[in-house]
Amino acid sequence: MTSFHVPHPASSILSPPPALCFDGVTFNHEEQVLLGPCSFSLEGTGPTLVMGPNGAGKSLLLRLAHGLLLPSQGQITWSSDRCPRQAMVFQQPVLLRRSAVANLVHALAVNNVPRRTRANLARDALERFGLTACSNKPARVLSGGEQQRLALARAWVLSPQVLFLDEPTSALDPAAIKAVEAAVREFHQRGTRIVMTTHDLHQARRLAGDVLFLSGGKVREHTPAEAFFNKPVSREAQAFIAGELVE
């Protein structure tokens, strides 16, 4: 990801997100294959929910797609010439040791957004995610739900074409989960391509456009959400939906 100019979110109608293509991708660690080989292509508008039991490789897949990790074999490509603008929200939000608004301003600064527009963009994003009252509070003393919303606001100011979310609600209470899901929908409506991991079936039913199901480091199924929840094809997905303990 190189630096880029971020358009003003209010005026941004994002261009259609490019498709992400995994071609024979594996990820090994110390001779052990942790993921793959997997080949699939994420097209359409999503949101794509990456599902599967713990240790299935969901987080790995997301980190590979976002470019935080490099595949041991295979290729990950985007259908566009240039890598799309992307952002990622982690399970544990990583926030800087400064105020909430300073966290957003920092993200804008490192992406070369002109200095005079930063404060306004940051304020708008805080307002959108209901964080205006926390604006000047130290980011790291905010509650878990507020911290995750701040991480989402930080992604929002960057107007990403693709947003990766790695179990963003796994440590939150229902009210905070609701706020995060509402934020995810807002991103989706703005035209940001969502790729999100979860192991919560109910959450997936609420959000998913299509589902990528993993178990044991392999992609077992990639189908529209409707089909996945009603007629899963793979044995692993059938067991997962039926609530059995899948490894």
Binding site: A87, L96, R97, A107
Partner: protein, 232 residues
């Protein structure tokens, strides 16, 4: 009464003893300037070692850590040789001036600031790395962010450096020469007065030095705590 160190210390202070104030002022000037220069060089150096992988990095970390224990007289000797008339920097004519004392203390303090900030920045980087890469930050862009986010730890490290600078006597004695009115500082005059057998004065000076160091530490602690409470 004249033989009581506290009485001597107090009367020195209350009488606004001109010689004492000159000594105190020079001590502070030399040590604060040395710490400032060492910080400007040492913090980015520590952060750079934390951020970049290069051949000899492990060796460099070991050397920096080891130099934290560099004996002041050895640092003094090195700077002495460097600045003496026949030395490579002899032409500067710095030997037996406050400038030479600052240089010697920079040599002493720099490894402390670099080694400890390297450790702290590396720790923070471990926590922030994925987010930084996600934001598309280059290593050189990460450096100022990490240094700023480590600011409270760096303040404490700065104090450790100042403590080292203000407390040492070997280096400033060798390159400064303890010349009255020119290069005499607190520590060198304590050594001198002890040598002359003027123990109450030596002890009195010691008490003044201690009080000064405590005052500066308290001030920095207070500023640090207040901002910490505000910023978290």
């Amino acid at each position: 009464m004249e033989n009581n160190a506290f009485y001597v210390a107090l009367s020195l202070l209350l009488n606004f003893d001109a010689a004492l104030f000159q000594i105190v002022a020079l001590s502070l000037q030399v040590s604060l300037l040395a710490v400032l220069i060492a910080a400007v060089l040492g913090f980015p150096l520590g952060a750079a070692v934390a951020l970049w992988r290069f051949p000899g990095r492990g060796g460099m970390i070991v050397v920096l850590n080891a130099l934290m224990g560099l004996p002041p007289v050895v640092a003094g000797l090195m700077v002495y040789l460097l600045l003496s008339r026949a030395g490579p920097l002899g032409e500067w004519g710095l030997l037996f001036t406050p400038g030479a004392m600052v240089l010697a203390q920079v040599v002493l303090v720099l490894p402390i600031l670099a080694a400890l900030s390297r450790q702290k920045v590396e720790e923070l980087l471990g926590e922030y790395r994925e987010q930084f890469v996600s934001l598309g930050m280059s290593r050189s862009r990460m450096m100022p962010t990490l240094l700023w986010d480590a600011r409270f730890a760096l303040l404490t490290i700065l104090l450790a450096g100042f403590g080292r600078a203000s407390a040492e006597v070997g280096a400033v004695m060798m390159v400064g020469g303890n010349i009255e009115g020119v290069t005499r500082v607190m520590t060198t005059s304590i050594v001198l007065e002890t040598g002359k057998g003027n123990l109450p004065l030596a002890l009195g000076l010691g008490i003044v030095l201690l009080a000064l160091v405590m005052l500066i530490n308290a001030g920095v602690y207070l500023v640090g705590e207040l901002t910490r409470r505000r910023v978290g």
